[in-house]
Amino acid sequence: MALIPAQPSANPGVKKDMEAVASLDRDTELMIRVRAGDDTSFALLLERHRGPVIHFLYRMVQNPSVSEELAQEVFLRVYRSRATYEPTAKFTTWLFRIATHLALNWVRDGKKEKGQESLDEQVVDGVDRQVRDRQPNIEQEMLQEVKMTEVRQAIEALPAKQRAAVLMHKYEELEYAQIARALSCSESAVKSLLFRAYESLRSRLAHMAG
């Protein structure tokens, strides 16, 4: 599908919705066009959000292939539900709600144990490669990898909801209200989740200071 800039829609229903969501974001506008049958707008949405969604899922499930598989499912569901899409909130809130739902389900179902390509294996491979390719920086690279492994393990050790909240807050820079909607809880619950999560991270990663 070619990436062509979205054209203004001639559909009166779409125009009406456009006016209604004038205060909302560009993504919502694009999604309304997708609902009206404009596949180019879907391509634009994919272009804008492919990276953030995959990266969020990657940090959530810590498996590159699974994160891409889940991200495919996210965009497939967005496309499948285009006809019933209602612009009641920011598009990113809806998008991350779908992504969070799929990721939490995946974590809950314990699919992690089912023979996956683990990040630890990747790290070992990565270090081996580095040892061969860049001898002078071996120590620095290995130290960095060890640190990253610790960060990943600290994130992985968080309960799934806390993990999702931290990832949306830290990396996707979503507002508390958006995270609350994505996790189907109140804003105060999100703040509480974030405090507990950062508290755990502070205690787990305290030795990395300096």
């Binding site: 599908m1 994919l46 492919r50 990276g51 995959i54 990266h55 990657y58 940090r59 590159p64 994160s67 891409e68 991200a71 495919q72 965009f75 497939l76 569901r77 967005v78 496309y79 499948r80 539900s81 809806w94 709600r97 779908i98 739902h101 960095q144 640190k147 990253m148 610790e150 960060v151 990943r152 994130i155 931290v166 807050h169 830290k170 990396y171 820079e173 508390y176 189907s184 703040k191 974030l194 405090f195 950062y198 991270l201 502070r202 990663l205 305290a206 990395m208 200071a209």
Partner: protein, 163 residues
């Protein structure tokens, strides 16, 4: 300014300060507070270290054929029979239906059933009443028949010398 470590309601300011999402005015106010509060100062330092550690975690690059695979799945889905699409929409919705929304049809069905039963019940009681009446008549008939038998039966002879 209230100390965020003392009041939970103000604690989010610590996160927002480290995330640099506070307004310039709030940031300046909190900077002043940090100079006076050792607890907050320690917490901010620790939080900044965590923040820095998390920042260094770069995500894996996205596969070059991600879009191709996605569009292939969309095309495959569009080519599928309509009933399959409906099934997918029902069993794989974009978002799960809230529990109370799922319960609405069930509650509605139960209410409808209850109303239906209530409407039918009076007919049922009417149907029973004639039967009750019939039972009552039958008993009366039996009693009447017994009385008739009594009349027809000659009185027993009084034993001799009883008077």
């Amino acid at each position: 300014m209230n100390c965020p470590t003392k009041r939970n309601e103000d604690a989010e300011i610590l996160l927002d300060y480290c995330a640099q999402t506070l307004s310039p005015l709030q940031t300046a106010e909190f900077d002043v507070h940090l100079k006076q509060c050792a607890d907050c100062s320690r917490l901010v330092e620790a939080q900044k270290e965590v923040w820095g550690a998390l920042e260094a975690w770069a995500p894996a690059p996205v596969s070059v054929n991600f879009d191709v695979r996605l569009y292939a799945r969309i095309a495959e889905e569009q080519a599928a029979p309509a009933w399959q699409l409906w099934l997918r929409r029902i069993f794989q919705p974009a978002l799960p239906y809230p529990l109370w929304k799922s319960a609405v049809p069930l509650i509605a069905a139960c209410a409808l059933l209850a109303v239906g039963l209530t409407v039918r019940m009076p007919e049922a009681t009417h149907a029973v009443q004639p039967q009750l009446r019939a039972d009552k008549v039958d008993i009366e008939q039996v009693e009447q028949a017994l009385e008739d038998f009594d009349i027809l039966t000659p009185p027993a002879q009084a034993p001799a010398g009883s008077m």
